[in-house]
């Protein structure tokens, strides 16, 4: 099979000493960033990306490291969820529901073991999915022209709008803010300066990392200032990290179902770990909660969201690598990383950059095995890290963020922009606007406008071109289905509860 030989070539890339080391480093840092409350995968990737770039790592090595942080964080997030009832990152919120009651019963060890195994199975199944669906999807996507691309982005933004955040209007506003930020700079086709205010540093537009660090790292610290309390955590004692085969087998269907759900939700543009874990937990509760054990520490309810949030990370890489459309907030940052290396993401990536794509996929098989070891026998080391006080943690993050932003073009101007965007991000977050849609809008803005204008050049200004051809029609139907989904779900719920 062609796929297997490509995967074999990928392993020759991933198994070099440097890339193995980077996968291990990514796994360790990812678990760390996931475990520390407040610092999720996005911050982890944003802090490491400038370092990887400026020290001149080749793109595939850079991506192996950064992706390791991404899926590693989905493992790490469970630790503080289970032990402290504080989700380590957004994808681990539902892990607290069963995980914390278990640890209160003195079953913290088995809970960590089961959730670690579920993470491993979810994550690995998603990589298998990526291995086989990725090439298929990229072959299909090669037939996309500018009009199809534009409509595809409309679809991406409609899923983000409907599925993310509490109020669709606010999610859409976030998308639009991201798109507007992307307009700033020289217009590539005509050379007109747009919103640059005679500031030469803005001619190239906003630097990608500046935007990510501002909206995420800086605003995160501002939020921490409100929430944190200086009391040191009381960590429950863990005797042994193990799970009996019987208990594990009880959860096998929950794990497999949730892996599939997580993968599919991950593939959908813009929706990542938090939605995947919410859906899988809710479904598992409906299907399995016959004795009312959910909420009091049910193993199945713990395994489901952990399997799903890890699977969503692998799923989110599918549209990112095949279509150039990120499946989640963190993959938007990974996409930005590719652009930093002047690699054009899109359906040609699989054929033009086989070393990068297959090296990354192969490294994910290896990385997951590393993560299993890190998160089962060595998990106790990471529980110690939870005790790092904020007065060491926060300044370290701030300094690394500043050095990262500064190092990309050795200018302090971007630091000021990061601060301003940080304040804006803080206000937006306080008012329940989501951040991930902004980054997605920002990353996709230029490509979206470019495809819109190219499509209209092809048609001589006729908008009808967006409604021609089978692919466009299917995409518009998907857009409509997505927009009506909240209503459809309501109707189904009504019927379900009536019967």
């Amino acid at each position: 099979m062609e796929v297997l030989s490509l995967l074999y070539n990928g392993f020759t890339v991933a198994l070099t000493a440097m890339n193995l080391g980077l996968a291990l480093l990514g796994a360790l840092l990812g678990t760390l960033f996931g475990a520390l409350p407040g610092l999720g995968p996005i911050n982890g990737v944003a802090l490491l990306l400038p370092i990887a770039y400026t020290i001149g790592l080749p793109p595939e090595s850079s991506l192996i490291l950064l992706a390791g942080i991404y899926y590693g964080a989905e493992y790490g997030g469970r630790i503080s969820s289970i032990l402290l009832n504080v989700p380590g990152d957004a994808g681990a919120v539902f892990t607290t529901l069963e995980g914390f009651p278990l640890s209160q019963k003195g079953l913290g060890g088995p809970a960590l073991a089961l959730s670690g195994l579920s993470s491993f199975i979810g994550s690995t199944l998603a990589v298998v999915g990526l291995t086989f669906f990725g090439p298929l999807m990229s072959k299909f996507a090669i037939s996309f022209g500018p009009p199809e691309y534009f409509v595809l982005m409309v679809f991406a933004f409609s899923t983000i709008t409907v599925l993310m955040g509490k109020r669709p209007v606010k999610s859409l506003i976030s998308v639009v803010i991201g798109l507007i930020l992307a307009v700033v700079g020289v217009d590539s086709t005509t050379g007109v300066l747009r919103y640059t205010f005679n500031e030469p540093e803005l001619y190239d537009g906003f630097e990608f990392l500046t935007v990510v660090v501002g909206f995420f790292a800086v605003s995160e610290v501002l939020l921490m200032l409100e929430h944190y309390n200086s009391d040191t955590f009381h960590l429950p004692k863990i005797e042994r990290v193990y799970i009996s085969l019987k208990e594990f087998l009880m959860c096998k269907w929950a794990i497999l179902r949730s892996a599939v759900i997580g993968f599919v939700i991950g593939v959908l543009p813009g929706t990542g770990a938090s939605i995947a874990s919410a859906v899988s937990y809710t479904l598992e509760k409906k299907l399995s909660d016959k004795e009312g054990t959910f909420g009091n520490g049910d193993y199945r309810g713990l395994a489901a969201p952990e399997s799903a949030n890890n699977a969503s990370a692998g799923g989110a890489l599918v549209p990112m690598l095949t279509l150039g459309i990120p499946g989640s907030g963190t993959t938007a940052v990974l996409l930005g990383a590719l652009m930093l290396y002047n690699i054009n993401p899109g359906p040609m990536l699989f054929t033009e950059q086989p070393k990068l794509v297959w090296g990354l996929i192969a490294s994910m098989y290896i990385g997951n095995i590393m993560l299993l070891v890190i998160n089962l026998p060595l998990v106790k080391v990471f529980t110690k890290i939870l005790q790092i006080p904020y007065w060491i943690l926060v300044p370290s993050v701030v300094v690394l963020a500043f050095v990262g932003v500064y190092s990309v073009n050795l200018s302090t101007y971007s630091l000021m922009i990061a601060i301003i965007l940080g304040v804006l991000g803080y206000i937006l977050r306080k008012l329940n606007y989501s951040m991930a849609p902004i980054i997605l809008g920002f990353v996709l803005g230029e490509i979206m406008e470019d495809n819109l204008r190219r499509a209209l050049s092809m048609s001589g200004g006729e908008f009808g071109i967006f409604f021609e051809g089978r692919i466009n029609i299917v995409l518009w139907i998907l857009v409509a289905a997505m927009l009506f989904m909240p209503i459809i779900i309501k109707i189904i719920k009504k019927k379900y509860f009536k019967s």
């Binding site: 020290i55 109020r167 606010k170 639009v176 300094v399 500043f402 302090t412 008012l431 406008e449």
Partner: protein, 146 residues
């Protein structure tokens, strides 16, 4: 209330983006749409959406006075960091910044001083010396060295 005020701000921003966008004239464009349409459309869309939020704002309470003051203090530290980064150099500027952030997160004075010195020196060594990512030494120190 805050939600409504911010929606007004977004509407003003949208009007500015749309209005400014209308001035992006080019003598000749290769594509029928030109550089104007996309930003103007985004401005219009943002205006309509934030008007919806303005009409139906959510009831969101502002943070407590002390947390806002701490936030402003934190931003002040960051602005100081940005302004002093090249002037005082990475080491001095970072040491001062880290000290104040550590204090803000309730570190004791001695703890904060040790944290500040350790972070600034270790980051400097890792980045400038080992990874060869140049960090500014500082205009003042450079003058002294000659």
């Amino acid at each position: 209330m805050i939600d409504r005020i911010f929606a007004l701000f977004l509407m003003a921003l949208a009007a500015f983006i749309g209005g400014y966008g209308l001035t992006f004239d080019v003598p000749f464009s290769y594509d029928p749409l030109g550089p104007k349409a996309f930003p103007v459309a985004l401005g219009a869309l943002l205006f309509v959406l934030s008007f919806i939020v303005f009409l139906k704002p959510a009831d969101i309470k502002a943070g407590s006075k002390s947390s806002i003051l701490r936030g402003i203090f934190f931003i002040g530290i960051l602005v100081f960091y940005q302004l002093s980064f090249n002037l005082l150099g990475f080491l001095v500027s970072t040491t001062i910044t880290v000290y104040f952030i550590a204090k803000l997160f309730k570190g004791r004075t001695l703890q904060s001083i040790i944290t500040a010195v350790c972070i600034s020196f270790s980051v400097y060594v890792i980045f400038d010396v080992i990874l060869k990512i140049p960090l500014p030494l500082g205009k003042i120190i450079e003058k002294m060295v000659g």
